[in-house]
Symmetry: C2
Amino acid sequence: MSDERIRDPRLLDRVMSADAAAGFIQPGTTVAMSGFTGSGYPKAVPQALAHRIEQAQAQGDRFQISLLTGASTAPELDGALAKVDGLALRLPFQSDPDARKRINDGTLEYIDVHLSHVAQHAWFGFYGEIDTAVIEVSAIREDGSLVPSTSVGNNKTWLDLAKKVIIEVNDWQPAGVDGMHDIYYGTALPPHRRPVPLVKPDDRIGETALRCDPAKIVAVVRTHGPDRNSPFNPADETSQRIAMHLVEFLKHEVKAGRLPPNLLPLQSGVGNIPNAVLAGLAASGFRNLTAFTEVIQDGMLDLLREGIISSASCTGFALSPEANERFKRDIDFYRQRIIMRTQEISNHPELIRRLGCIGMNGMVEADLYGNVNSTHIMGTRIQNGIGGSGDFARNGYLSTFLSPSTAKGGSISSIVPMVSHVDHTEHDVSIIVTEQGVADLRGLSPKQRARQVIDHCAHPDFRDALEDYFQRASRDSYGKHTPHLLPEALSWHQRWLDTGSMLK
Amino acid sequence: MSDERIRDPRLLDRVMSADAAAGFIQPGTTVAMSGFTGSGYPKAVPQALAHRIEQAQAQGDRFQISLLTGASTAPELDGALAKVDGLALRLPFQSDPDARKRINDGTLEYIDVHLSHVAQHAWFGFYGEIDTAVIEVSAIREDGSLVPSTSVGNNKTWLDLAKKVIIEVNDWQPAGVDGMHDIYYGTALPPHRRPVPLVKPDDRIGETALRCDPAKIVAVVRTHGPDRNSPFNPADETSQRIAMHLVEFLKHEVKAGRLPPNLLPLQSGVGNIPNAVLAGLAASGFRNLTAFTEVIQDGMLDLLREGIISSASCTGFALSPEANERFKRDIDFYRQRIIMRTQEISNHPELIRRLGCIGMNGMVEADLYGNVNSTHIMGTRIQNGIGGSGDFARNGYLSTFLSPSTAKGGSISSIVPMVSHVDHTEHDVSIIVTEQGVADLRGLSPKQRARQVIDHCAHPDFRDALEDYFQRASRDSYGKHTPHLLPEALSWHQRWLDTGSMLK
């Protein structure tokens, strides 16, 4: 690796191996790392740290850290550290199977946080002192400023708050990413906050690199490794039907004059359904779309390439290996159309409300009255986390939640009498879409919402049982504003636990 | 009544009786009225309308309207219309016993909305066409602009959107209120929104009166009636203990450097506990406090008078008759220290986050993991509504929820295994206070939160049962991230319904 990537000569004497760098991390400390949905996370130091932890624990020494990131990372980070039981606490979002297993075994404490809250909670001191930051960058400039790689996440905050900093310079990341970032340094603690001066998704309000006091940098590690670029799965028929319903709904809203012809800035969660929605919008003739979102996936990259999306703001990527190749190849094109921001900006309530984003997020389940569970299987096992869905559901122009109407081979209904965990309340959910159709909950009372959800979203296998519950609850409930029969409200979930099916 | 209150001569020929004015309101239409927590609501036309509805229904004609306001009103409005079954739909908040009865009987559809969402949902078209606005003002100026009375609420939006307007000019309201309001006309629909240029609670960013096209005004009704000024009940010992715990906590936060000595702008819900908190802050030597809140109650008025609170921003009042007399007498003093705003500004996510408000709200119940129910008794009967608590809980610096640890003579625990309805999720609740103590949930995982809530907030009568549930759930739960035993999770509520007590 040439020193084109480490251009500040002051830092060359701090270049060392990942093992040596991991030696700076002490047991019991809080470590903040880069990484957002499998992009821009450190590739080498976490594994070296896991190795060190394993050795310490083999000698009977307890060695665990508290780990903060932007969002999910990869097996080389969350997986490696979870496997060796090296994590005492994890936040704000993760999706690793090994970490998930420990969380749901009850042996790893996990805090599921709105992505818009993480940076400010760290600044407020809610997470205690941050000892070490481990941040992947694509380059260090002559002046010591750090060019982020494929995610920004909370890197600004981690670099500002950590007592010491370890930098991974990953030359697998394209050099041409330099200029794509927009790091806003206008945040402050109350009472010193000012308006965030962004009024369009493609406004630039910050700097193209991260500041970092060179005196805090204790190690620079050269890496050459790919992001967790998962293969792209083409949308199945169910996803396509969900997408079709949402696209039809949006077309109807344009026709009714409630949305401009090029919609409002799109936010889309990760997965095949959002990809299918984007493809559906393109096929329906939508043009000049914009995105103000957290993650750019294959579908959005394609639409940028085709000029259907004119610009996109994000904080990270989740690309397939093939899309990543296209991204690297055409990076000069994308750099003019993609702006990568800190996640406190990509998910900022002020901006999401100002821009009037259209939020499109997946869910685990919704109930008759429009409450949504985004995180917990059967109310107790966390899957991933709330991520930014709450930021967009609460503050956007439209909050849409998309899911197949059933899961696990039809044994689970995504529409239940009462959700087993609430991430988005009845106050925050406007549209629910399954392959069955669209429930438009806007301006409806709870009982009117139930009518929409049962008639338009429930799977036929479960519709009669939902109707039966709703009718009996409407007759026998203690209060009839939000009718429920408490002994039955969560019985569908218990039945699945007992019998393997929510069906009677 | 002199014409000092109706100074635009163009409108004098539209002065008429309340009965005549009510004649402009047609069955099946949506009517938007002024009013927020019992202040500034129309005093005469709603009762005249109720009388008209009663007569129509006596003749077998169905006559119902959909009613939108700022928040709660009074017996003369919600009560009168609910009593004659004149309401088909009601939003966004109400607290009237007669309306509540119909809502929970299932005969009145009610939509419980974040107060920050109402105006924009109306502009978005989610509530359909607004036919008539009925707005109380304190005066009509020479140029036809309208000086609000003791609440602003959604009046700007109602006047802008309604096809026709009925004005009540209430000369019971002090003329000196003129100049106290700040009506922001910079809002817009996305994609045309700009930053709201407010950076301190006492910034003035708008105009002192409401604009209204005189051509839309179909009737002007003179009234002379008091707001619903409810008597002030001194705080009982439980409220004082809750207040004391919160004040001690805030002092600790100042000492730890996480809050400035004069705190951050206070938001407080309605009731005796917030009054006791304010008194406690004063007694503890806090000075130069500010408020950015929805409602000014007796306690805040007293602290403004004493110079302990230097300025307060609100959208309405909830005063006792005695405090109202003091308010009227010293209105020139208060006009320099109180700014009344539209509720889309008083509750704006952008501003609450920027200012870093300290939210203090009541609750019905909280669960082991920090989810809060603000609205539903036993999960089904709505009490009042979420009001602005969600705006402040999500976006403020600290979201505190305050409640006695028991209700109904000790038969109900405010700390339950699982809340029966969720208004504020685990992601949005940082501090829970009962007379037992403070649960500080910041930076804690669900199981760590349970430890705080059981040890510091639960009433001793229920503590062992909560501990037992938590221990068994931690052992036997399907997932152990948020441990629950689903068949038991809501059993405390059902036991209360069955036996009159949550105690076994």
